[in-house]
C-alpha cells in the first residue's frame, strides 16, 4: 500500500503518460515517455525539469490575480477560451484551498493539451488532479446549456465601477 502510494506521488506533474498504469513505479516525475510504436517501453527519456513548487506565503488576493492572468494566457486557443471563461465564473468565489488546487492544475502539467484532454474527458484525469476544482472544470466544459463560447470574456466583469454603472 505504502509503496504504491509513494510511487503515485512521484508521478505527479508532467509525465505525459502518468495515467498509463504500465509505468507506475518509475521514478522521475518529469520523465518524458516517447511514443515508439510497439514493444516493451523501456526507454524513458529523462529530461529533468525543475518540479513545480507552490508559491509560499502568497496572499489570497495576489493568488487570485495571478491565476487570472495564468488562466487567460495559455499555450493554445482552446485552453485560453475555456479557462478564461471558467475563471470569470468561478475564480472570485474560490476558497483558498480551491485556489491552491486550481493553481496546481493549471501550472504543474507541462503540456497544455493534457489539461484540455482531461477537462473534456478524452483521457482520464490522473489521480493527483482529481480534485474538486477539476470536477468543476469538467462539468463546465460539458457545456450542458449549449452556450456559445466564442472568445475570452472582456475584463470589465472585474471593473466594479463599470458594473455599478450598469446596474
Amino acid at each position: 500500500m505504502l509503496s504504491s502510494f509513494v510511487a503515485k506521488r512521484l508521478l505527479t506533474g508532467v509525465c505525459q503518460a502518468a495515467w498509463r498504469p504500465s509505468i507506475i513505479g518509475m521514478v522521475s516525475s518529469r520523465g518524458y515517455r516517447g511514443d515508439a510504436p510497439d514493444g516493451p517501453q523501456v526507454d524513458l527519456i529523462e529530461i529533468p525539469l525543475p518540479p513545480w513548487v507552490e508559491r509560499a506565503d502568497e496572499p489570497i488576493d495576489t493568488k487570485r490575480r495571478r491565476l487570472l492572468y495564468e488562466s487567460r494566457k495559455r499555450g493554445m486557443l482552446e485552453n485560453c477560451i475555456l479557462l478564461s471563461i471558467f475563471a470569470k465564473r468561478y475564480l472570485n468565489k474560490m476558497t483558498y484551498s480551491q485556489l491552491q488546487q486550481y493553481d496546481r492544475l493549471i501550472n504543474e502539467p507541462s503540456n497544455d493539451w493534457d489539461i484540455y484532454y482531461w477537462a473534456t474527458e478524452t483521457y482520464p484525469t490522473p489521480e493527483v488532479y482529481q480534485v474538486e476544482v477539476m470536477e468543476m472544470l469538467k462539468e463546465f466544459t460539458k457545456n450542458k446549456n449549449h452556450e456559445q463560447r466564442l472568445d475570452a470574456p472582456s475584463l470589465d466583469y472585474l471593473d466594479e465601477e463599470y458594473q455599478l454603472d450598469r446596474s
Binding site: V14, Q16, Y32, R33, G34, D35, A36, P37, D38, D43, I45, E46, I47, P48, L49, P50, T62, R65, R66, L68, Y69, R72, K73, R74, G75, M76, L77, E78, N79, C80, I81, L82, S84, N107, S110, N111, D112, W113, T120, T122, T141, K142, N143, N145, H146, E147, Q148, R149, L150, D151, A152, S154, L155, D156, L158, D159, E161, Y162, D165
Partner: protein
Amino acid sequence: ISAVRQKTKLTSLRDCSLELVLNPLFTTTLNELILFYFFMTQLISVAPQISTQYPVVDHEFDAVVVGAGGAGLRAAFGLSEAGFNTACVTKLFPTRSHTVAAQGGINAALGNMEEDDWRWHFYDTVKGSDWLGDQDAIHYMTEQAPAAVVELENFGMPFSRTEDGRIYQRAFGGQSLKYGKGGQAHRCCCVADRTGHSLLHTLYGRSLRYDTSYFVEYFALDLLMEDGECKGVIALCMEDGSIHRFRAQNTVIATGGYGRTFFSCTSAHTSTGDGNAMVTRAGLPCQDLEFVQFHPTGIYGAGCLITEGCRGEGGILINSEGERFMERYAPNAKDLASRDVVSRSMTIEIREGRGVGPDKDHVYLQLHHLPPQQLAMRLPGISETAMIFAGVDVTKEPIPVLPTVHYNMGGIPTNYRGQVIDHVNGEDKVVPGLYACGEAASASVHGANRLGANSLLDLVVFGRACALTIAELHKPGEKLSPLRASAGEESVANLDKLRFTMQNHAAVFRTGPILKEGCDKMHDIYQTLDSIKTFDRGIVWNTDLVESLELQNLMLNAVQTIQGAEQRKESRGAHAREDFKDRVDEYDYSKPLEGQQKKPFEQHWRKHTLSYVDHKTGKVTLKYRPVIDSSLNEQDCAHVPPAIRSY
C-alpha cells in the same frame, strides 16, 4: 469636482450590425477586412496625477532572448552552451508558449522512408513561397534540416519511430520528390501528435543545464536603442510591478506571430505581435506583414481549427440557401479543393450575401447527414470542440465556420544568419546588436505562403543560427557599450499613461460599420488608442495593463498589415485580391522569356514590403526591397527561377 464617468466597451463584433467578414481577399474597397482588437474598457475620471515611482532593476548579460517558444529556447540554449551569460525574458512559462499547440511535425530530408534530397525540399519551399522567399535563407534552412532533427534527437526528443528504429516520416502538403516530378515526399518527423510540446520540453530542459537565466512572466515593453544600435530590452515584472532593464550586447527577438489582430484566428491569446511592435517603435521596419495564412475552417468567432479530415469524411460546406456551394467553385474536388480555393469560395459566398447567421458573416459545415457512429469514431474531437465552443450538437446542427488566420509569414526582416536588417539607400544594412528568429522573423523562408511542417523547422534552424552568429561575432564577457541612464523612460511613461492619464472625454473604439475605406478607418481607430486606460490601477499581476499593452502592439501590427495589403496590387500566395487576380512579376512567367522586356523594380510586385510606423500618429510608410534569388552556393544548389505555381 464632478467626475465624469463614461465608459464604453469594445465588445466583440457581434454587437454591431456589421458585415465584418474575415477574408483572404482584399479589394480596393477593403470592406471585407476585419480586425479584431482586444476589447478595452475606457475610463475617464478627473483624478489627480499619481506620482509614479517604479522600482527599477538593471541587469547585465551577454545576450537577452525575448520569448521562450521553440525559436527563443533554441537561441537561448545555443547561446548558453557557447558560454554566453544569457537571459530569457518571457511573458509565459516556456512550456506554455504557443509552440505547444503545434501538432504537425518538422520537415527534414532524412530519407528514412524513401530516397530524399534536401534540394528537393528546397525546391518545394521556394515554390510554396510563390517566389517571394529569399532563396539563400531557404537553402540554409533546408540544408540544415537533417542535422537539426538529428541534433534534437540527440537532445532526447522522442520522435516517433519506424520498426527498425529510424525516425518515422510522414507525408505533408506541398512536399514532393525530384523537384515536383517524383510524387509525394514523406519528410515530416513528428512526436505522435505533440511535436510542439516535445520540442519545448526538450529545449527548456537542455537550456537549464547550461545556466540560462529565465525571467518568467515578465512582459517585454521595448528595445533599448541608442544610435541605431540595440543595447537591450526593458520589461515589466508582472509579479511585483517592477521595471527591469536588461542590458546586453546581443538581443534576440522570438516573440511569435500576431494572429490576434483578426476576428477569427487559431492563435492563443498570447499571439499579440509584441516583438514586431517593439521593433516598429524603435523605428525599424517589419516585412511582408500583409501575407497572412488562412485555414478554411475555423469555428466562427472562437477560431478553433476544424480539421480538413471532416470534409474528408464527407462533411460539406453550406450557404444560407442550403446549397453545397463548393460544387460551383470546384466541380471535381468540391469540398476537398485546396485550402486557398476553399477559403476564397467561402469568402465570395459571404460577400455576395449568402452568408449565414444574424450578420450573414459566415457559412456552415454540415456533418449531421453522416451516420452518428462514423462521427463518433472518426471525428470525436470535432464533436467535442463543436459542443464546447459553439454549443452545437453536430448530429443535429451544422457548425458555423469561417476562414481563419493561422500563421503570419511576415515579421521582422533578417538575413539568413538571423541578423535584423534595415533597407537604407537601396542596400540591406544590419542593425547592430539585434537578431530575430521564429514566426516573429521574416528571413524570409516562407515568402508569400508557408508549407505545413516548415514552421517548426524554421524555429530550430534560425534559433540556432542566431546563437551561432552571435558566437561568431562576439565573445562572452565582452564589455557593454555605455547606455544613457534614462534609457527606457518612454516605456515607463507609456505605462503611466495607460494607468493614470487624465482625460476629459471617452473616445469610442469604433467597431464601426462596414470598413469601406479600411485604411482610413484604421487610421481613425489608431487615434483613439490615445484614450485607452486601464480600470485596474494595481501593479501586481495586472492583467488589464498587460492586455492594454498587447492592444497597443496589435494596433501597430494591424495598421501595417492593412496598408501593405491595400498597396500590393497583385495576388501572390496567401495575399489574394479579387481586383488583381494575377501575380505581377518582372517577367510574365506564363510565357517564354525571350522577347520579354524586364519590368523595372517599381512596376512589378515580386519584392518584399517593408513597413514603418510613426507610432505617435499611426502613419505607415511603405518601402520595398528585392527578393534574394540566389542560393548560398550555386554550385551546390542552384536557385529555382520563378515559374507559374501550379500543383
